[in-house]
Structures are given as C-alpha cells and as structure tokens.
C-alpha cells in the first residue's frame, strides 16, 4: 500500500513536467504577448515590463525558471494583476469554486445514487423508465441552457432567489443546481448500470438465500460493489466540478477559479495560465490516486500494486 502510494506520487513528477512543458510551449506559440493593448504602450514602458518579468531573457532560461516555479508552487505575480501573486489568485478563486463544487458534488451523490439504486431495483418498471428519461434529459441539457432558464424562472419571473452573485446563502442555490443536474443524471445512470450487474451475481443470490431482508441485500451487499463505476468516475468528475465551471461562473457571476484559465489565455498572462494548469493537473492526479485507494477498500478483489 505504502509503496503503491509512493510510486504514484513519484510518477506525478514526470506527468506534471510534460503538462507544464506543453502549456509553456503552447502559450509561447500563440501570437502576441502579455503587454499588447488596443492603445499603444511607450517603447520604454514595454521594455521595462519585459525586463521586470524576465521576458527579455532567452526562452530556455525562462523555461527553467518556470520549472523551478512549479517545484515551489510559486509562479510570481500575475502579468495582468501585478499587485497579486498567482498563488493568491488561485487560492482565493479555488476557495469559492471548491465550495460551489462541493455542494454540487454532494447534491449529485445524494440524489444520483438513490435514484440509480431505485431504478435498478425496479428495472423496466414505470419508476425506472421515468427516472432514466429524466436522467437522459439531465445529461443532454447543457448548463449554459439550464443556467439562464433557472435564472429566468426563479430569479426574474418569481423573485425567490438572487439572479446571480456570490453573497448570501440563497445565492448558492441556483449555481449549485445548474452545476449538479448533469452530474445527478450521470451518477444515477452509472449507479443503475453498476447495480444491475451486481444484482445478478451469485453472492447476491446467496445473500437472499440466507433469508436476508431485501433492503439489507441491496444496501449492504450490492451497493458496495454497485457504485464502483461511480467511484472511478468520481475522480475526474470531482476535479472538474471543484475546479470550477467557466460557464456557471460566468452566468451566475461566481468569483471562482474556472474563468482564470480562459481570461489568462486571452490576455497571454503566462504566469496565471501556468499556475492554473499546474494546479488543476496536480489536483486531478491526487484525486485519481484517492479513487484508486477507495477502490481497493470497496472491492477486496482489487489489489494495489
């Protein structure tokens, strides 16, 4: 177990290196630079800025500086917001995104798993059909459609909830809903599929033969293996949901992390883009590791090696 974790942690290093290098190359291949604007900048000012951020040094040297920055998780100041360190920007945005994503993830699991279990238990009955149709709709409706519709209905037609912004607890409701609907639907479908497979297996028949109550059979014996597909999906899903959704953050004016990737790239804010990409990659790798550990705990047949 410990060797497994250690090896995986060590493997993260080359992975991050490759991701960082690719991002560095892509950012530098894009035309323009961080100090371009609609309005001309005096040549001396441009020179000074390039010098201040080390952009006048040879590219290879800049690359090594960047690698050192990854190691220390310190990317220096943002070019666009120079009074702030990239690290501060990431952490402040992440706190909001993680809260939004955390609620959405919790809601997705709390709704998705029971719906999936119920649908599996009542396979091909009316409940199953209704649940799965709703899930199909949930997966199909993109959140840039759902977000404005929720806003129209709950904030503008009926003024029950704030239209946007991240202030009162009530302001969390619409973005969390808009973000979680597709995850609820997907988790319900995965749970149903997993449960259907497990419910046909011998050990479930044994459990039933022992005379266990159906509730115990389903919730204690079947569910543990039945949600394995959900667990493996959870790694990337959690990374995506917690790192922030650019669409939801834009529609509901949520000050999260998602937007910085886009804004940073458009502005050629090299340090900000690098910081966000590396942070995201690192987060994803850690979550995947956690998923693998959870797997071995849920399914004794899986051996970590």
């Amino acid at each position: 177990m410990i060797t497994f974790v250690l090896r995986r942690v060590l493997l993260m290093v080359p992975t991050l290196l490759v991701i960082g290098t690719l991002t560095f190359a892509l950012m530098r291949l894009a035309p323009g630079g961080p100090f371009m604007s609609d309005k001309d900048i005096p040549a001396t000012a441009k020179q000074e800025l390039m010098h201040r951020y080390g952009l006048d040094r040879p590219l290879l040297q800049q690359y090594f500086t960047f690698l050192r920055n990854i190691a220390r998780f310190d990317f220096g100041p943002s070019y666009k917001y120079p009074d702030r360190q990239v690290r501060e920007i990431i952490l402040q945005g992440f706190a909001v995104s993680a809260e939004l994503g955390g609620w959405a993830l919790l809601l997705s699991l709390l709704l998705g798993i029971p719906i999936g279990v119920m649908a599996a238990v009542r396979q091909n009955q009316a409940l199953d059909f209704i649940a799965m149709s709703a899930a199909l709709a949930g997966v199909s409706v993109p959140n840039f459609v759902l977000g404005p519709v929720l806003m129209l209905v709950f904030a503008l037609s009926f003024t029950w909830l704030p239209a946007a912004l991240w202030t009162s607890p009530a302001s969390r409701v619409l973005p969390v809903l808009a973000l979680s609907v597709s995850y609820v639907a997907y988790i319900a479908r995965l749970t149903r599929a997993g449960m259907l497979e497990v419910l046909r297996q011998d050990y479930i028949r044994t459990a039933r033969a022992k005379g266990l109550a159906e509730r115990v059979v389903v919730l204690k014996h079947a569910l543990k293996l039945g949600i394995l597909p959900v667990v493996s999906y959870l790694g990337p899903a959690a990374a995506r949901i917690i790192m922030g959704s650019i669409v939801i953050e834009q529609i509901f004016a949520v000050p999260g992390l998602g937007r910085y990737l886009v804004v940073g790239a458009v502005n050629r804010d090299y340090t900000l883009v690098m910081g966000v990409v590396i942070f995201y990659a690192f987060f994803l790798l850690v979550l995947n590791l956690l998923v693998d550990i959870a797997y071995s705990w849920l399914d004794p047949r899986v051996e970590l090696a």
């Binding site: 323009g32 900048i41 000012a45 459609v145 946007a164």
Partner: protein, 576 residues
C-alpha cells in the same frame, strides 16, 4: 479599451419541429425558454404613478447605498499606471486630482486645487492646493506629492502605459523615452507646500481636461515606497478621494465607504458604495432587472436588448466619444493608392449597417472624430455613393473591379464584428465588384496583427481620453504607435504640430478640421459608426448623467427614497 465582446447566448428564433418523445419536448421547452431569456425579458416590469415603464424591480435599497456594476475586473488600482475604464472608475472614487470632471459637462472643476492660473503665453500653470489636505491615513498631502506622482508616471522604470498623456509637460517626453539622463529638466515644481507649478513644452488647450484624468492623480509616496508593487492591495492602499476602499474579492465586488478625511466630506451623501465586477452582459442586465444593482453603466447591455429597451424610462443614452472604423494598411498594394481607398470608403453604406443590422443602437458616422467637442466643426462626413466609388476604383486602374486582388478584412472574434464584416463584404462586392474575405482572430492575435501591419483592412474602435479632437487626430501622426496603418503624411503632421501651439481656440479647431479633412480624403480610416452610451439607472439614483466620455464622478450622487413624489429625471439628463 479591450473589452472582449460577448457572444449572444441563443438565437432569437426557434423553429418548430416534429417532436417525438417527451425528452425532446422537454429540450424544446428549455430552448424556447432560453430564447425568451436572451431576447426580451418581458416579465416583471414596473410602472410608476405617471405611467412610465421601468425595466424590472422598483424596490429601492435602504439607506444611502449605491450598488452598481463596475464591469470587467480592474487590472490595476494604481492611478499612475492604470489603463481602461473600470480601473478609472475605481480611481475616481478613491483618489482625486488637481481638478475634477463636472458631472454633466466633464469640464474641469476645482478638486485638490481650489484655483489655478495660466500664464499669458499658455506655458505655465500654477495650481493652488486647498489648505489642510490629507491622505486617508492622516498624512498631510502637499504639492510635493504631485511633483512626486507626476514624475513617477514619467519615469521609464515605472512603465506607465499612459505616460504619453503627459508629454505636453516640458522635458517629459525626453525623460520618459530615456533620452534625458534625469528628471531635472522636467517642468514640475513645488515652490511651497500648497503651490504646484507646471511648465509645458508648448501651449496645450486641453491641459485642464488632462488634469481630470486618472493618470494625473496623486499617489501616496510613503505607501508606494513602503510596499512597492503591492501598495494597491486593500490592506495597504491610501487615497485622497471621496471614498475609502473597504472590501475586495477579485471578480466579485469592491466596497467603499465615505472617507472621513476628504476635504468636501460634508457634500458626499452616499454612506456606502458596492461595485460588482460582473463582465457578462446578460448577467448584469438581469441583475439590474431583478433589482440587485441600481446602475448598469454603459457597455454592459447586450446589443440585442437595445432596441427593446428604448421604451423604458430608466434607459438613458447619449453621445459617447468613440467611433468604429476600418483601418487600411497603406503599405500593401493596391491599398497604397488613395483612389482605391476612396472607392472602399465611398462604398460603405453606413445607414444600412446601423439601421438594418444594428437596429438603431448606433449612429452612422462618416468622420474620424466623434461629435460633441464644444467649438469644433469637423469636415463634411463621407457618405455612401456607389457611383463615385466605381469611378474612384476605375481611376485607380481597376474598372469594374477587374484585376483587383483578393483582400481580407480582419476583425477580433465577435458576433457584431462578423455581421458588420459580412455586410461590408457584400457592399464592396455589389458596388465595386471586388471580392474580400473575412478573417476572425482572437484578441491577442488580432492586436499582434494590427500593430505589426500584418493585415489588409481591419476593424478598430477608438475611445477619446479627453474632450478634444486631438485625442482622435493624434492617432494618424506619422509613426504614432496607435496609427497602425503605415500612413505617413508630412502635411498632416505639420498641421497637427501647428494646431498644438495655437492659443486661439477658433484657429486651432480650424487647423485640426483641415487635418481631419485631409485624412478623410486620403481614406486611411474608413469610419462606420458613432457609439452611444447606453445605461440603465434606477429612478431613485440622483446625480448620474450620460457624459461624453462615460465618466461619472460619484461624489455627489445620492439615493432619493421619495423619488415617486419627485418629477422623474428632474435633474436628469436629456434623453434621445
């Protein structure tokens, strides 16, 4: 500058289709609802006792609190180096320059200086500061702070992007360009604590408009030197304006409270200001409608809303000092021939573009400078004339467009940019018989292409910095970094230089008009339309007027809780 246009969320029409199972029905309903959201939010309008309709909620906030949308997150909070409108709005609340812009006319009014004199030759300005001025941490503010702050803007080590606005000052250009060894030659002096003397390189008629500008605001030396680049964080920042900065979360909001150390604090009526930084136009218009903000400033209403908003009493528009034009790269044949450029210019049907395509939210415009400089009469506007356009093209050697090479119109990715490009493409094909292609690039690539002259014809927008035609005509001076066409004309340069030295406003404007007429005849910039300010202001907000530069000092703004008893827009602004 540099606002990234938003693509509209959904098309306004949804076609009926054969709906099979209920899932499709559900999606259809959702799509219809989205279309309704993006097209015309028609629900929840309120009407007052006079029968005027208002856009959305009419529930005023309690107390003297103004909530508005600041727009895109400001990049810098240091007035000496900031560029861009949201940054400027921040500066105008927290800092104050020698002069202040009038709420309606933007004319200079006494600020930190209570009076000033200009020398007979127009070269020296003496500003007298108010007694007992102080920074918000209690440190006294003196004329030396102005010398320090202006010198700092010009210091190449500061890398201020707006430094060129100060080139009117004696010795400024040489110092900023690194040609002078030190700042000893700068025309800035503080003979005593309350006197600030500026010596100019040449008379500058609009100098007092410049002193309104945020680049000319003072910064607290003791704080800047203690914290360096990070002095503008909320825990460090010290200002001298009407408001104190109290809270910040990036991409969320700024909060301000009335400053107890401001010299005119008794006249400041707002206790608190909340400025959200929401850049999505649909979202901020919806926030306004739901009553979460009291003011949605110009530029943050989706363009497809504009024709629909015209009937509302809280929608205000006015002339904005900004024009939309196509610039031509004159270094690329055949665009180096003036007759070709004239043909292109005459074959743009500006009325069709603004009336039919933009649905009247913009005005057709055939001049480089916008309208509304007191005293300036610009040259006659270029008008659509397909017959003369064809003659011009024939004179250039391409009768009927024969043999004309394929040109490309470049624009930055945006829905309106594409639609206007397509319209002009069709006009040039119909009237001149030439084929042009359209190319869309994202913002950074587009800037790179236009500033390195790597294009044929490109879309551009310019916003005036100060209320003088010079703010636009300066662009076309040979070698100016904002010229971006490669055009260079000795006579034009000479006219601008002569005008700059003139003290008589009538003569100066006449010279500038002659220069503009020359540039129009040479068809370097092909004007398309004139921008308007378009804003939504709740009826209880008093003291915000449409202004030509979309600058709105909030010092005297207040919340009128009895607005229903008062005549609507009593202080208000003329609406078109």
């Amino acid at each position: 500058m540099g606002v990234i246009p938003q693509p509209p969320v959904a098309a306004c029409e949804t076609r009926g289709s054969a709906i099979v199972p209920d899932v499709k029905l559900a999606i259809g309903v959702l799509l219809l609802l989205t279309a309704a959201v993006s097209c015309a939010p028609a629900t929840g309008d309120a009407t007052d006792a006079h029968g005027r309709r208002y856009f959305g909620s009419l529930a005023a906030p309690a107390g003297q609190v103004l909530r508005f949308n600041l727009g895109t997150e400001p990049e810098l909070r240091d007035p000496g180096i900031m560029v861009g409108q949201p940054d400027g709005r921040f500066a105008r609340m927290v800092f104050e320059g020698l002069t202040n812009a009038d709420e309606r006319t933007l004319e200079p009014r006494p600020g930190q200086a209570y009076r000033w004199e200009m020398s007979r030759d127009g070269l020296a300005y003496t500003f007298h500061l108010r007694p007992r001025l102080a920074w918000s941490d209690g440190t006294p503010l003196t004329a030396r702070d102005f010398v320090y702050s202006w010198r700092r803007v010009l210091d190449p080590a500061t890398a201020s992007r707006n430094a060129s606005l100060m080139y009117a000052i004696r010795g400024a250009e040489a110092f900023n360009k690194g040609e002078a060894r030190d700042s000893a030659g700068l025309g800035l002096a503080a003979p005593d604590d309350s006197t600030f003397v500026v010596t100019l390189a040449q008379p500058t008629a609009y100098f007092l408009f410049l002193t309104n500008y945020y680049t000319f605001m003072p910064v607290p030396r003791h704080v800047v030197e203690a914290w360096g680049q990070r002095w503008t964080l909320p825990q460090h920042l010290v200002g001298n304006g009407a408001f104190r900065w109290t809270y910040w979360r990036q991409n969320d909001r700024y909060e301000f409270a009335r400053s107890p150390s401001y010299w005119d604090r008794a006249a400041v009526r707002l206790d608190k200001v909340v400025a959200y930084t929401v850049d999505d136009m649909n979202t901020c218009t919806n926030l306004y409608k739901s009553g979460a903000i009291d003011w949605n400033p110009s530029g943050y209403i989706p363009s497809q809303y504009l024709p629909f908003l015209k009937g509302y009493a809280d929608y205000r528009t006015g002339r904005f000092q900004s024009t939309y034009f196509y610039c031509v790269n004159v270094t690329r044949p055949p665009l180096d021939r003036p007759w070709v450029r004239r043909a292109l210019n005459l074959a743009i049907d500006r009325v069709a573009i603004t009336r039919d395509l933009l649905k009247g939210s913009r005005d057709p415009w055939g001049r480089i400078t916008p309208e509304g400089y007191p005293g300036y009469v610009g040259p006659k506007q270029v008008a659509y004339d397909p017959v003369r356009a064809r003659e011009c093209l024939a004179k250039a050697g391409f009768p009927g467009g024969k043999g004309f090479p394929r040109l490309t119109i470049l624009f930055n990715t945006s829905e309106d940019g594409r639609r206007i490009g397509e319209a002009i493409q069709a006009m040039w094909k119909r009237d001149l018989g030439i084929h042009v292609e359209l190319m869309s690039q994202e913002w950074g690539s587009y800037l790179q292409a236009t500033s390195t002259l790597n294009y044929d014809v490109a879309r551009r927008t310019w916003i005036g910095d100060y209320l003088d035609p010079n703010s636009f005509l300066q662009l076309l001076v040979s070698g100016d970094g904002n010229n971006r066409t490669g055009w260079s004309n000795a006579r034009y340069d000479a006219l601008l230089r002569t005008a700059a030295g003139m003290l008589d406003p009538a003569k100066r404007f006449a010279t500038l008009a002659e220069a503009e007429s020359l540039a129009l005849d040479q068809a370097v910039y092909l004007p398309v339309y004139h921008f308007s300010t378009t804003e939504l202001v709740k009826p209880w907000v008093r003291g915000i007027y449409p202004t030509a530069l979309d600058v709105h000092p909030l010092t005297h703004v207040w919340i009128d809780h009895d607005w229903r008893q008062h005549e609507p827009l009593a202080e208000g602004a003329p609406r078109r």
